[in-house]
Amino acid sequence: MAARTLPKTDVVIVGAGWTGLAVAKELSAEGQRCVILERGDYRHDAENFGGPEEHDELKYARHKGHMIDTPTKTLSFRNNTSETALPMRRLGSFLPGKGLGGAGIHWNGQLWRPLPSDLNMRTHYTERYGAEILDGMQVQDYGVSYEELEPHFDFFERVCGTAGQAGNVNGEQNDAGNIFEGPRSSEYPNPPMKHSPPQKIFRDTAASMGYHPFPMPSANVTAPYENPYGAQLHPCTYCGFCERFGCGYFAKADPIICIYDTFAEEDPIEIRYRSHVLRVEKSEDGQTATGVTYLDQNGEEVFQPADTVCLNSYALWNVHLMLVSGLGTPYDPETGEGTVGRNYAYQTIAAAGVFFNDEVWSNPFMGAGAMGMTIDDFNGDNFDHTDLGFVGGGYISANQTNGRPINYQPTPPGTPSWGAEWKQAVRENYLHHIGIVCHGSSMPVQGNYLDLDPTYTDDYGQPLLRMTFNFPENDRRMSEYLVGKAEEIARNMDNVRAVSTVNRAAEGDNYSIVPYQTTHNTGGAVMGTDPSTSVVNRYGQMWDHHNVFVFGACLFPQNLGYNPTGPLMGLAYWTIDALKNDYLQNPRPLMDA
């Protein structure tokens, strides 16, 4: 037990990223005293992310200056249960954040909503194709519908000043936007981003093939903008230092400028930095949590009692906290029983590289995290899956986001990876290339899950989280299909010299923790309406401990063909709504188990 017990607070929030700061902002407005515990440091866009110093590819993109400190906190990994998991000794495949703003500081800002049919995926596919199409997969409904979440997606898009072109406002379709999207209640708050020459070629080519291109929705703001909390954002300069960097231009929506800066002095919010939460403490009857124990900045163990506990520490670490605290029942992949750690999923990434002749200048150093020209024709169930042998899909997008010289060295197929020929190819192709990403969904299967490592520990003496994951057959087939479509578009584009492809989920290749793919780790504490297959109910409230609320992508029963932050922030505001308008007046389970 902790050496010292602090005075009780109303709400304790673990983590000061997008979800944690939103919870504090909204609940403090209801008079709730909120304590945020953040294991990293204070930092701010104005002081810490200004150019040109921030534009340091070695420090931030290679050495990952804004991200978790793997020597202190990491996880272990294996492809399947017959292997021994080994620690992820340094960052690679995904890049979780640390410090004020969390990973929302160094994200790209590709801001999506799920499709209506993504949210009731099991019901939808069963009705359209029959239940067998989901055989072997633990696909589930979210338990909450698109209509219920729409106001919250809309609100978060306004928090971010999202730049985009609506394709469906209240049922009215507009071909310039994504015609597949669910109906939205309003237009995007800002006009779409500009696009580079290769992106315009992609757009025209895709349209000529009968697809429906549109500008990717972007939290890189395109006009001076004030968000609903009163925060000011500035137009993006297309500087090309977005993903892995903080934005000193106040142009990429992030949790610091969009939420934290709008806290008023009188708001009952306290943020404690360098405060690492070790576990959630339970009441004697185990029905509720009593607060959290953490290591304070002096390394002293203290107990912070609270009426309500909110887990906002990122998808993976939320699951870790549950496992080390004994919240819920750990998942057992042998029996399929238990729920904590179940349905871990990821993102299935493939891409086509397009090499142009000298007629087309991409100038890849100009770009923005969410500067993309996208088609959604092969996402979700926007296309007929009969006889395809898989479910799900993904968007296909010509993105120009990160053309910095160490990490971006496109060379045509067949080029060696070093030496004279390589050097010449880098020189000739750098300014004339674009990547078309296939951002595929990820289906849950029995053998992919999270639990605690039996051998390795973190600096606090706690067992590491153990990840067991490989690409399911369904997703391999899906990815193959998507990359085929991307390649076809690439080959139809004008002035193309060569086309390359990569498929991370190619048949025979194992998922690897090494190459960066996405920081879209999902599941492990999924939401639903059945306590035997979900950790939290449809409000994000734990079935087993009703005063613990869970936020982030760990709630997703399976991963979408979209980036997670729009969806998970829609869910966050939905949960906040349930707290504000129901739970806090009368704390109790909001659903019967």
């Binding site: 294996r78 620690p87 090309g240 100009m366 070093w418 923790i513």
Partner: protein, 247 residues
């Protein structure tokens, strides 16, 4: 010792087939070591420096544009290995380190970057009998090829291909990173590909199908020149200690 130390002399000691194999004249003309010329290595030994210069120039040889060693990649590596990064501040190094790690599991060597380079280079030179830098161009290429293909025994705890990845990665970083870190001297690498650097504002260019003509400007650009301040003789001694503190 500092007074008589010359990095250039150490590397040019590679001889006619040495630095930037085949073109030592150009290496001298590039004068890549001016900033750190009188400063002893922060971490490397002379032998390690020669190995890295020779290996770097196999990976990034001279053509119309300079080679790795010509733009200061050895200085870059020396500074990196002496920095907190080199001492492993980005690595979880708790054991055990069992056999049977798969490629999917990534870095599993029980060494910090500084220790790894020291250990691996000495094992390579020992196994081969002849220093890399003393081989002719074909011999160097052959050795690096075998290393990259894992066709070399570097002991139980270092896979040849895994070490090659680290070598390749740090040479590439030194060549293309901002010149403040000692490589990419006078923006040589950025000039080569057309990357304009860290001072970035492209609102009115991003949708244009034209080349972008402005010369590169790095983080510590010296206005009115085509050069960046880098870890010069004065700053050099102080910087490795605090440079990556936040990183």
């Amino acid at each position: 010792m500092p007074a008589s130390f010359s990095r250039r002399a150490v590397l040019l000691g590679l001889g006619a087939s040495g630095l930037a194999a085949g073109a030592p004249g150009r290496a001298a003309a590039q004068n890549a070591y001016a900033n750190l010329e009188g400063t002893p290595w922060f971490y490397l030994t002379d032998a390690e420096a020669r190995f890295l210069a020779a290996a770097g120039d196999v990976l990034i040889p001279e053509d119309d544009y300079p080679s790795a060693s010509q733009v200061g990649v050895v200085d870059f590596i020396d500074l990196q290995l002496a920095s907190p990064w080199g001492k492993g501040d980005g690595l979880y190094l708790k054991g055990p380190f069992p056999d049977g790690a798969t490629n999917s599991q990534g870095y599993q060597m029980p060494y910090t970057p500084a220790e790894l380079f020291r250990t691996a280079i000495s094992r390579i030179e020992e196994a081969e009998g002849t220093a890399l830098a003393d081989l002719d161009a074909a011999g160097r290429e052959d050795l690096i090829t075998r290393l990259s293909e894992g066709e070399m025994d570097l002991g139980e705890d270092i896979g040849a291909a895994a070490f090659f990845q680290e070598l390749h990665s740090i040479v590439n970083e030194g060549f293309f990173a901002d010149p403040i870190y000692g490589g990419n001297k006078d923006y040589a690498a950025w000039d080569m590909i057309g990357f304009p650097g860290a001072h970035a504002y492209y609102l009115s260019f991003v949708d244009q199908n034209v080349p972008y003509e402005k010369p590169p400007m790095g983080i510590a650009h010296i206005p009115g020149t085509r050069r960046s301040a880098s870890l010069g003789a004065s700053a050099g001694a102080a910087r490795p200690a605090n440079r990556t503190e936040e990183g």
